[in-house]
């Protein structure tokens, strides 16, 4: 029997009120990638918070092999805080304990390697707040890499990043998979979900879980996104994400957009 590194069984969670998420059951093996799809408020971040141990499950169970590296949604860090890209990457080493001592040489080396993996080795001395949005996201990803976890929870890592950063981050998913790590990524990009091993569709409950080719049908997407789904003129689907940024539009692939749809900003 193959080992599982992430497992949820009938998982539900709430923030002191009605359930924010219920009935989530899935499992992942080492080296598998999972795309978590869902509208804003659909429970993606709630799921990640439960898996990260920040929020207790209200119902069911959740199990993660070791402490996961969790990349929360972007733009939470303070841009006015005087730290460099290297300092931020090095913060990932706090996951190894020994927080009361100065970082050791191998932890500094790990931070430099992580910055190199995200293509920012030349910017390690640059102040975090002076970097572009995409670069900042890559630095935060480097911080998660330094944790050297078997499971990575990446909450909308591609939201608002420039194409070069998105390409770099996407390539990293494949590298992490090859290293045998389980990678969970939440996104609004339906088309990109097809590149993952598994897809989990949430809308305050689990709508579907399985291989993308078997899961991403019209019924599932409409049950997941409801009114946020947009049908393109070639039959493909896109998702509007107006709660995050008015006018932002995520078509499934470059090329034609629906008549009257906002332009593709990717």
């Amino acid at each position: 029997m193959s080992e599982t590194v992430v497992e949820a069984d009938g998982l539900g969670a709430a923030y002191g009120g009605p359930p924010a998420l219920s009935g989530v059951s899935f499992s992942l093996k080492p080296g598998q990638t999972l795309c978590v799809l869902g509208p804003n408020g659909g429970g993606k971040t709630t799921l990640f918070r439960v898996l990260a141990g920040d929020l207790e499950a209200q119902t069911g169970t959740a199990r993660v092999d070791g402490r996961p590296a969790h990349l929360p949604q972007a733009e939470r860090p303070r841009l006015d805080f005087p730290v460099s890209a290297f300092d931020v990457a090095l913060m990932g080493s706090l996951a190894h304990g020994r927080w009361w001592l100065p970082p050791r040489g191998h932890e500094r080396a790990a931070a430099r390697r992580a910055l190199k993996r995200v293509g920012l080795e030349a910017s390690e001395h640059d102040r975090f707040g002076s970097l572009s949005g995409g670069q900042r996201q890559r630095v935060l990803l480097a911080r998660a890499l330094v944790q050297d976890a078997r499971v990575l929870l990446l909450d909308e890592p591609l939201a608002g990043v420039d194409p070069a950063s998105a390409e770099r981050i996407t390539a990293l998913f494949a590298e992490l998979r090859a290293e045998g790590r389980a990678v969970l990524v939440s996104t609004h990009d339906v088309d990109s979900a097809r590149g993952f091993d598994r897809v989990l569709c949430l809308n305050r409950r689990q709508v579907a879980f399985g291989a993308p080719a078997e899961t991403l049908g019209s019924d599932v997407l409409e049950a997941t996104y409801g009114a946020e789904i947009v049908m393109l003129d070639d039959g493909r689907r896109a998702v509007t994400v107006q709660h995050h940024a008015p006018g932002e539009f995520h078509p499934p692939a470059a090329g034609r957009a629906a008549p009257g749809a906002p332009p593709d900003h990717r």
Binding site: R76, R78, F81, S84, M91, A95, W100, D126, L140, R143
Partner: protein, 285 residues
């Protein structure tokens, strides 16, 4: 002019003045070193409230005949713990938690202060008096500087990680609420020691002013901590010297010097943020 400059050296000519300089320098090192974290954690309001909250503790100390700093420390530590405990509930938040905790302690303090046996020189607790410090006060302040310095050194990485990105720090395994509670405890210690020299109404100046002065001129949190301590010590010594030269209240003079340093530092042009380095252009063709 010569007389004025000569008067600035007056504190060095008496034991009373030298003790005042020593007390203010130690308070500057303590509060100035903490000030960057106080402002980074947006605890200025909480620190002010804690400073006010120490009054009942100081009154109780005077009533039972123990050192004022001990009573103030107990009162402010109790307030810090109450604030930290209530702030753990995200539905309440730090501001409301602080208001509730400090209001309760002030109510208790008012009851005690109105008792017939309340201390007569309450104004010293409110505005401080560096000229009245004793050798024991200096020893207490020195011990507090050593203890807080060791704690700040050990907590430096968690403090920076949580101040920068609370969610990210939690994801790395830290407990932000505990880090914040530890910082509040250090603030409480600083206030308890500072009440002797600066009083509970003016002690906040040393916990906020230095950070405002240096914030735009440092590139690292460590630089801000050290810079804040240096600014606070220099401004504090200048405040004592000016109070002697101008024959004004020393505690208030020190507080004004710290605020003047904050205004001056904030008015200076900030360091230009480092921009990403330009990458070499790819060779044509």
């Amino acid at each position: 002019m010569i007389d004025f400059l000569d008067a600035l050296l007056d504190p060095l000519r008496s034991g009373l003045g030298r003790r005042a300089l020593g007390e203010v320098a130690l308070l500057g090192a303590l509060g100035g070193g903490l000030s960057f974290w106080v402002t980074s954690y947006r605890l200025s309001y909480a620190a002010e409230s804690l400073a006010h909250g120490l009054l009942p503790g100081a009154v109780v100390a005077a009533l039972v005949g123990v050192p004022v700093a001990a009573g103030a420390g107990a009162g402010v530590l109790l307030a810090a713990l109450l604030v930290a405990a209530a702030a753990r509930d995200e539905r309440i938040g730090v501001e409301a938690a602080t208001a509730v905790a400090v209001s309760g302690l002030l109510g208790l303090g008012a009851l005690l202060a109105l008792a017939p046996a309340s201390p007569q020189r309450l104004e010293e607790l409110l505005f401080g008096d560096p000229l009245s410090v004793t050798g024991a006060d200096l020893a207490l302040a020195g011990a507090a500087v050593v203890a807080a310095g060791a704690a700040l050194t050990a907590l430096h990485r968690p403090l920076a990680a949580v101040a920068f990105d609370r969610e990210g720090a939690r994801a790395a395994g830290l407990q932000p609420a505990l880090v914040s509670a530890a910082l509040l405890a250090l603030v409480a210690l600083s206030l308890a020691v500072a009440v002797r020299g600066l009083g509970n109404l003016l002690a906040l100046a040393v916990l906020v002013g230095p950070a405002v002065a240096v914030r735009g001129h440092v590139r690292t949190p460590a630089g801000a901590v050290i810079g804040g301590a240096v600014v606070a010590v220099v401004a504090g010594l200048a405040g004592v010297a000016l109070s002697f030269a101008l024959s004004v209240a020393t505690g208030a003079s020190v507080a004004l010097a710290l605020c003047a340093a904050a205004v001056a530092g904030a008015s200076l042009p900030a360091l230009r943020p480092q921009r990403p380095r330009a990458r070499p252009a790819a060779p044509a063709g």
